[in-house]
């Protein structure tokens, strides 16, 4: 342990917001490793990494030849419009719909019964309840009569919060599960095939607490790339970038775990067992992208009595579900930037989003809108004479 530093139990945040000398030293290392490299593109696969990158202005610390790209890391952004439209319709028909705050403003492509989002559905008299977790919905539904729906978004990180209560038969008979759960490794492979020319990957730390590092090693091997599973403090992300650049400078590929304090190679076996017991992997649609094989979780036959798709005859029929001229599909795949979208911060804002990337705290457009990812940090730094 570093001299003078307190341990894990004495305060995590303090450890990862160190004195500026550590950040300056890391920045020097990043510049030194990047010196003899061609243009480097490092893609993240978690909206929280994009949040850290933008919130702390990490792009302004990069050399000119190092580009940090946001990949498909926001589960709200990729939830297909048909699922949102189904939740809206059910709420207006009088069924109570529980969901997370992040999904409340998520706009569907088409208006359903006059509403394009659950927020608008509520204004139309729909019954919607925002909850912190599936468990809160269980408690609420148990005390009420009538059929209810839980609109369950998320990646592997969130899957145990559904799988455990379902497996332990804690879900009341009047609560149905509308799954928009997705698996990240298949989407990472898809994005890497589609985008090409990615030099390294910052892999999602909290997804990896569940999956373990194994799937990310497979991805690194398949694409011959350096992959680093990273934590979410600014120092975590800077260190991960430095490790990737060092691997590139040494012409290495493969996997490193930076977020060792929370992630191991095998993953969370208890959580994985619950997930496997409750869900099958199935081919699933991603908003703006379409079908990605084995990228979703659907309830196993044993739990089909809880499946909202079956109970309400909802069809998982996907067609292109991004509004005209909105660039969310390309932004989600790391092929474009929010600032290149004609709607960005004009017609489309966090208060009045058009595309799905402008809603969630993990959506690339929403993050850039709130913290100035389009170069504001660099502009300010220049004005202050720091660059």
């Amino acid at each position: 342990m570093l001299k003078g530093k307190p341990g894990l139990r004495k305060g995590l945040a303090g450890e990862y917001r160190p004195d500026p000398r550590t950040v300056r030293s890391l920045k020097e290392k990043i510049f030194s490793y990047a010196l003899n490299l061609e243009n480097v593109k490092i893609m993240n696969f978690c909206g929280t990494h994009e949040w850290t990158t933008v919130h702390y202005g990490l792009r302004s610390l990069m050399p000119e030849n190092v580009e940090l790209i946001a990949g498909p890391g926001c589960p709200v952004c990729i939830t297909p419009s048909y699922a949102v439209e189904s939740a809206i319709a059910l709420s207006i028909e009088g069924f109570k719909v529980y969901t997370y705050g992040d999904a409340y403003k998520l706009p569907a492509l088409n208006a359903t019964k006059g509403a394009k989002s659950l927020e608008e559905a509520k204004a139309e008299g729909g019954s919607i309840s925002i909850v912190y977790s599936f468990l809160d919905a269980l408690k609420d539904a148990k005390g009420e009569s009538g059929e209810k729906i839980f609109f369950g978004l998320g990646f592997e990180t969130t899957a145990p919060s559904y799988a455990i209560p379902i497996s332990c038969k804690m879900v009341p008979k009047n609560l149905y599960f509308l799954s928009a759960l997705r698996r990240t490794p298949p989407a990472a492979n898809f994005a890497l095939d589609k985008v090409g020319l990615v030099s390294g990957i910052i892999a999602p730390g909290h997804v990896s607490t569940i999956t373990g590092a194994r799937p990310w090693k497979t991805i690194g091997d398949r694409h011959s790339l350096p992959v680093v599973i990273s934590g979410f403090e600014p120092l975590d992300v800077l260190l991960s970038i430095a490790i990737i650049l060092r691997m590139l400078a040494r012409r290495e590929s493969g996997l490193k775990i930076e977020y060792k304090r929370a992630v191991n190679f095998k993953g969370n076996l208890m959580a994985l067992n619950y997930i496997r017991k409750v869900f099958n992997e199935d081919d699933a649609s991603w908003r703006g992208i379409g079908l990605i094989p084995k990228s979703g979780f659907e309830l196993r036959d044993e739990f089909k009595h809880l499946d909202a798709y079956d109970r309400f005859s909802i069809k998982k029929t996907w067609s292109y579900d991004i509004p005209n001229r909105c660039r969310c599909a390309e932004i989600t795949l790391g092929m474009d930037k929010p600032t290149n979208c004609t709607y960005y911060m004009k017609a489309c804002t966090p208060e009045s989003p058009i595309g799905p990337c402008m809603v969630s705290s993990e959506g690339t457009c929403a993050i850039w809108a709130r913290f100035g990812g389009g170069g504001l940090a660099e502009e300010l730094a220049r004005e202050l004479g720091m660059m």
Partner: protein
């Protein structure tokens, strides 16, 4: 959506743990084996998804130290 918050376990009872998030104490479902009082855990959507280890934290610090070439 993949935010997870570290907290300290105050007690464990059955499938649940009482977790202290800087003074805000909440129940969380255990999805991680071997969690005990005093552990620092990561909680996401009311579920303990990982137990954080001091040894691994030390290893992270060494990784940083090594990369910086002992400049820290």
């Amino acid at each position: 959506m993949c935010w997870a918050i570290p907290g300290k376990v105050i007690s464990v009872y059955g499938l649940l743990a009482k977790v202290d998030f800087g003074g805000n104490i909440r129940d969380a479902v255990l999805a991680t084996e071997g969690v005990k009082e005093g552990d620092v855990v990561l909680v996401h959507a009311g579920v303990v998804i990982s137990r954080m280890s001091q040894e691994a934290w030390d290893a992270e610090q060494r990784m940083l130290h090594d990369l910086l070439g002992g400049e820290e």
